[in-house]
Amino acid sequence: MTTMTSPPRPDEGEAKKRSERNATQLTRRQRLSRLDVKASPYLYIAPFFVLFALIGLFPLVYTFVVSLNDWDILSGAGEWIGFDNYVAELNDPYFWNSLFNTMSIFLLSAIPQLVAAVFIAALLDQNLRAKTFWRMSILIPYIVTPVAVAIIFSSAFGEKYGLINNILTSFNIEPVMWKSEVFASHFAIATMVNWRWTGYNALILLAAMQAVPRDIYESASLDGAGAVRRFFSMTLPSIRPTMIFVIITATIGGLQIFTEPKLFNPTSANLGGAHREYQTTVLYLWDMAFNRGDFGKASAIAWLLFIIIVGIGLLNFMISRKIASTEVKVISKRRAKKLARYRATTAANPTGVPAASVVDEEKSS
């Protein structure tokens, strides 16, 4: 505190008067420092909120306003039509098609990616030679720009001249129509996503794994728990909070996927495949805004997607909370049982020294 008042004098009345005067007649310096204490914290956090209002909140609200209008990209604002754009989009088969594609690509990428990331992290958590080398290596795909990844992969997945189909045909396997079949194209795009993000997620999970105390592992292995048992019973439960973080960020990223499908077949006349085989929702939004020029509908799609992402985020949050609370429940149940047993033994053995058998049991459990 910068405001220092002199210690109270023995004369009560005098001191009171003095302090009253102090409250009303502060020096300039004192007033400044009071302002400093009260206002400065807000000033310090202001840049974030000002920026957020400017580039986060304002566009959000403005998009909503646009979505309530019949708004053409070239001729600008048209009539106010309420929620007609939302109704039109919810009845548009291409909107649902884009949602299906997004979810399908998301599931095809998120699940294998997280499983692989957990196991890679577990491997890297072992006592390896040249640790840093291995850890850096798995991050390399993340450093490459997504555009470069998309261009290389889309060439490899080419239908007629692509590397993968060339290999398949050399083994007398029918070439796969990577860019014109729904599942094949989703698989190809998910591959790009996985290639890029697995290493990144593995590193985050690795950091979580390293925070698990080593002595727990040691005592577990002394008690005869194998590597697999240790992984499933100790590692996985310990990294649960990080897992939830990774899953939520993967969900948000996965639902907004754009670059990979946009560049998967850049020469296609239709965005996201001739028959919209892999047209994700953001791609559909882009098409609506910039090809078809309907800003109103595009804004409505943006808001629908926003609501869906928030919804799935909440779902994730609730599921993760439920997992956490059941864990607490299991633990407290176990503890209550032990406590009851302990009390029973101490009651039977009034000397206060716990029976040896209970101590043994504690150790082995």
């Binding site: 840049p47 990209i73 070239l74 001729s75 600008g76 039109a88 548009d92 088969p93 291409y94 060439s155 080419g158 239908e159 007629k160 001249y161 860019k179 014109s180 077949n265 020469t267 296609s268 006349a269 239709n270 001739a274 028959h275 910039f290 090809n291 078809r292 020029g293 800003f295």
Partner: protein, 437 residues
């Protein structure tokens, strides 16, 4: 000490704020009268061949500085133009627009300067009349100066035709396809003969053929009155049936346009003919070279086109009303579309001039790297002859959307073996879903 720190922080915040202002593009334009120094911005796309002309113009007009931006493809240029148009700021003083999106430009033609105010009437005889008509809006305001046009001829691979026992000589090939009265029926018949002799496909994919067919009609996806009418356009349907029959006979190589396996499809005998507007010649050469081929791959260019004259693409230079120096910008646009400039652009990029005088210039009709590649074909002369009889078709605001999103998938379906009627009905279904107007 403390107050000093505070001042520093305030200064830092102020500095950051001013940086942010700069970043959001509140750049002050250097105004001034026409005698003072003026900076003109130019935005072009693809290969328009204008780059070499800027320096010459700057030398002639010492008070002008040109800042040119070239966007890689027409599609990206369209997005760029649309966003800046929507934002109401950021367009260049001289803005190139493509024929394919002219329908959208005409929707907002009042945001472009009427070039008649800056001397367009004095020079309007330089262009072929249909090009001038395309650049004129419904109220008779001239908003675009034509750069190139895309008269279509037939690219063919002489070596492949010879293997099929057909002539490879340019004139004989033109005759084979029906000469001056070449029809699409002739084209598909030759294709079937070729297919019978070799078992190979005849053209690269159905999309480009369809494009040519549609562009040739008096009315395409829109009626002349500006209404979308596809179901009621009997000409469109009869052309579609021809195309479907061709695809069903195995004449399409089912290639992906603009991909062609990195050019390999042009060198491995996948197809023997290709729809070639002037600017496409450079594309063919580029594709063949990308695949490691050269002139010996046998590509040639014939003075014939099924169904008569056709035009595909071409660009205009416009001056948006956003421009602070419309007069100087219009002058620059006029310079860039003069006969000499268009000859220079043709030599640089193979873009065929829309200026009549330039079309017969030695620089266009003479030999060039491009003509050497096409077996010494007199490219400029052939294109000039292919440009005769081209008429302009009304292009509505959603023309490019229909072409890409309705008939893109449908032609792809034809290539993958779907029968013509099903693909046509699917196209109409998509059109209904898109709900365009």
């Amino acid at each position: 000490m403390k107050s000093q720190r505070r001042t520093k922080m305030v200064a830092a915040v102020a500095g950051a704020a001013s940086l942010a202002l700069l970043a959001t593009g509140c750049s002050a334009t250097d105004g001034g009268d026409s005698d003072g120094p003026i900076t003109l911005t130019v935005t072009t796309f693809g290969t328009m061949g204008l780059d070499g002309l800027y320096a010459a113009y700057e030398a002639e007009n010492p008070n002008i500085t040109i800042k040119a931006t070239n966007i890689d493809t027409g599609g990206n240029a369209l997005t760029d133009w649309k966003t800046k148009q929507a934002a109401g700021a950021g367009l260049a003083d001289v803005q190139a627009v493509e024929e394919g999106w002219l329908g959208q430009v005409m929707q907002v033609s009042d945001t472009f300067v009427d070039l008649s105010e800056y001397g367009a009437d004095d020079i309007k005889d330089r262009w072929v009349d249909w090009k001038l008509a395309q650049g004129t809006d419904a109220d008779g305001r001239i908003i675009g100066y034509g750069t190139d046009i895309g008269p279509e001829g037939l690219c063919y691979n002489g070596a492949l035709l010879e293997e099929a026992g057909m002539p490879s000589d340019r004139d004989a090939v033109a005759e084979l396809f029906g000469g001056d009265s070449a029809t699409w029926e002739d084209f598909f018949q030759v294709g079937k003969d070729y297919n019978a002799a070799t078992g190979a496909a005849f053209y690269d994919h159905s999309g480009f053929v369809w494009n040519a067919m549609v562009n040739q009609l008096d009315e395409g996806y829109y009626t002349a009155d500006g209404e979308i009418d596809i179901e009621g356009n009997a000409d469109l349907k009869s052309q579609w049936d021809l195309l479907a029959d061709g695809a069903a006979s195995g004449l399409s190589a089912e290639q992906s346009a603009w991909d062609w396996g990195g050019g390999k499809a042009f060198t491995d005998g996948s197809f023997a003919t290709f729809m070639c507007p002037g600017w496409m010649l450079g594309v063919v050469k580029g594709q063949v070279e990308a695949a490691g081929g050269d002139a010996s791959t046998g590509w040639d260019f014939a003075d014939v086109f099924p169904g008569g004259a056709a035009n595909w693409g071409g660009a205009f230079l416009t001056v948006p009303t956003q421009s602070e120096h419309p007069e100087e910008a219009a002058k620059l646009a006029a310079y860039l579309t003069s006969a000499e400039s268009e000859v220079a652009a043709f030599q640089a990029a193979g873009t065929f001039p829309s200026v009549i005088e330039a079309q017969t210039d030695d620089g266009v009709t003479g030999t060039s790297e491009l003509s050497t590649f096409f077996n010494d074909a007199p490219i400029g002369t052939i294109l000039g002859s292919r440009a005769e009889g081209v008429t302009s078709q009304f292009k509505g605001p959603n023309d490019s959307v229909i072409q890409e999103q309705v008939f893109g998938p449908a032609t792809k379906e034809l290539d993958s073996g779907v029968d013509g009627d099903t693909a046509w009905n699917n196209a109409l279904e998509v059109l209904k879903n898109l709900d365009l107007n």
